[in-house]
């Protein structure tokens, strides 16, 4: 009997302990997240401090513009084309019921310029360039290259991180613009070329309804913000990665997941601010 009681008591205290442990874990991970946020902000400040060196040595930036921006071109162009084509197909089927298929150009252009251009470009960018940046920086850390630079009296924040960050911020609006342009042509190809919408109406309606400031510029602002956030996440996750192969692969995954969250969340906030009233 005694033995039974003591076993029960041990089981109960064990349960209580595991619950307490769970609460402690929660607290620890919460504190950890805030610490990380603080680190990320200090990291960003350090990155921005590398701007003067980039102005002095633009070749560092150009090299990264190539690998971050130009090498992302293919996926952006192909995706833009298909997104535009699908939009035209879907839009046409809806509009034709109301006899409003001449507005197809406006529908395609507005959805791409305001929303899909910046958002889809940012998501693709996170997948193509962001993950590559995280993996590259994480591997440089794991193979002691960053440490080695520090010991050669070269600040890796300025030499490695800053050029990549600014290359991302510069590339994103340009890629989004290319995405939008290609998307509109994709819509044109399907709408005018295949479904028989009037050529002149497609462009003319677009010209009269799409506003430069309200639509185009807001889209550019969005893509700037996304570029900033996605590249920040990518370079920070790489730099903050645990320097093992598992740590680097986790950092890469986190980059894509966090970027997607950040882009979609910020898109809602920005849209509410820009077009909310």
């Amino acid at each position: 009997m005694d033995r039974y009681l003591s076993i029960t008591r041990r089981r109960i205290t064990g349960k209580i302990y595991s619950m307490l442990e769970w609460v402690r874990q929660l607290g620890r991970s919460g504190i950890g997240q805030f610490e990380k946020l603080g680190r990320a902000n200090l990291f960003l400040l350090n990155t921005l401090a590398g701007l003067p060196e980039l102005v002095r040595r633009p070749s560092l930036l150009v090299k990264q513009l190539w690998s971050v921006g130009v090498l992302s071109l293919l996926i952006i162009v192909v995706s833009g084309l298909f997104v535009g084509m699908v939009l035209a197909l879907q839009g046409y089927n809806t509009l034709v019921d109301f006899g409003a298929e001449e507005s197809l150009g406006v529908a395609v252009a507005l959805s791409i310029v305001r929303e899909l251009g910046p958002v889809v470009t940012a998501l693709l960018f996170a997948g193509r360039a962001g993950s590559a940046l995280s993996a590259e920086i994480g591997l440089m850390k794991a193979t002691e290259q960053l440490s080695g630079m520090e010991m050669m009296a070269v600040d890796p924040m300025h030499r490695v991180i800053s050029p990549r960050f600014f290359a991302g911020v510069i590339s994103m609006p340009l890629l989004a613009a290319i995405f939008s342009a290609v998307g509109i042509y994709g819509g044109y190809f399907v709408g005018v070329g295949l479904l028989g919408v009037d050529d002149g109406a497609y462009w003319a309606q677009m010209q009269s309804k799409v506003d430069f400031y309200d639509d185009v510029l807001n889209g550019v602002i969005k893509s700037l913000v996304f570029g900033w956030v996605v590249t920040w996440i990518a370079v920070f996750e790489g730099y903050d990665a645990i320097p093992t192969s598992e740590g680097v692969s986790r950092a890469t995954t986190r980059t894509v997941v966090y970027s997607a969250f950040a882009v979609l969340g910020l898109d809602f906030i920005l849209t509410a601010l820009m077009f909310g009233d």
Partner: protein, 311 residues
């Protein structure tokens, strides 16, 4: 010795460079000629002063104490080995000397400068005079061998391209890999990568080189090459070398002085011969590689018999 070495580089920096270069030369620590006798005077004083002086060093990671009151002197012009079992923080010690980590307590003085107190720019100035050879080599994977060795020269000097080429080839010749200057780091064997990294570490003619586990994972031939290079470079260039290692035989063979670290403290130091005849049971176990002794073979565990019979 220290002033005249490295001096030729600085003079060439100044003469080859003209007005714009004067700024760079100042940054590189170039001393005007008429001030040089003062430097030589100072040199006499510091000749007896150790290059690295560590006093009462405390450092911990989380709850784990890594160093608990370490005192060390690294003399100038000598090869000093720091040995100890894996996980005793030997690499951490190099990072503390290089200012990549800050101690919780105690002082780390390198060439008369208190490293933890240095500003960012002063620390980077000091690091230009330190070379470090990482265990992996830490070559930049997107640059070929030539560009890797040229990297510190391009970053810190404004030398013309032809001179950079000559200097890089000279450094590569010193480590015997001039013929490999076109290869990418991925095409190198581990031993070659380490020698290239060594060429890069001496590119700026530093006053000291720190070697992090230079013998680990080498085949006998490249091990022999590295062992010989460390000694040769130290003597030919008048460097001071710090080797962190747990390879007793190789480290004893080339070092002038050895410190043995364990559990956060210096447990023994002396010349290799003196350490070989030490009274300390711990140091003897380490130096001779005995499986059991003061460091037990078994990790602490409950009684074996109890453990098996009363599960």
């Amino acid at each position: 010795m220290t002033a005249s070495r490295g001096g030729w580089l600085r003079v060439t920096v100044a003469s080859a460079a003209g007005r714009k270069k004067a700024k760079h030369a100042r940054r590189d620590g170039f001393v005007p000629y008429n001030a040089r006798h003062r430097l030589q005077e100072a040199d006499k004083n510091i000749a007896v002063e150790p290059l690295v002086k560590i006093r009462d060093l405390h450092f911990s990671r989380g709850d784990r104490k890594i160093f608990d009151g370490v005192d060390l002197d690294i003399p100038r012009g000598k090869v000093t080995a720091i040995m100890g079992p894996s996980g005793t923080g030997k690499t951490t010690l190099l990072r503390l000397i290089g200012g990549q980590l800050n101690p919780d307590q105690g002082s780390v003085v390198v060439d008369g400068q208190e490293v933890p107190d240095l500003s960012h720019s002063a620390l980077y100035q000091l690091r230009q005079r330190m070379g470090m050879l990482f265990q992996s080599g830490a070559l930049l994977t997107d640059l070929n061998v030539f560009e890797n060795v040229a990297f510190p020269l391009r970053e810190h000097t404004a030398l013309p391209e032809s001179m950079i080429r000559n200097m890089v080839l000279m450094k590569l010749q010193a480590v015997g890999l001039r013929g490999a200057h076109q290869l990418m780091p991925s095409e190198l064997s581990g031993g070659m990568a380490r020698r290239i990294a060594l060429a890069r570490a001496i590119a700026l003619d530093p006053m000291m080189i720190m070697y992090d586990e230079p013998f680990t994972g080498q085949d006998p031939i490249s091990m022999g090459a590295i062992v010989q290079l460390i000694r040769l470079l130290n003597d030919a260039l008048g460097l001071s070398s710090i080797i962190v290692s747990h390879d007793v035989a190789e480290a004893s063979a080339i070092s002038d002085y050895i410190y043995v670290i364990s559990q956060g403290k210096v447990v023994g130091h002396g010349t290799p011969e003196a350490l070989g005849k030490t009274d300390s049971a711990w140091v003897r176990q380490f130096m001779q590689g005995l499986p059991d002794g003061p460091v037990p073979f078994h990790y602490p565990a409950p009684d074996y018999r109890e453990d098996l019979l009363h599960a």
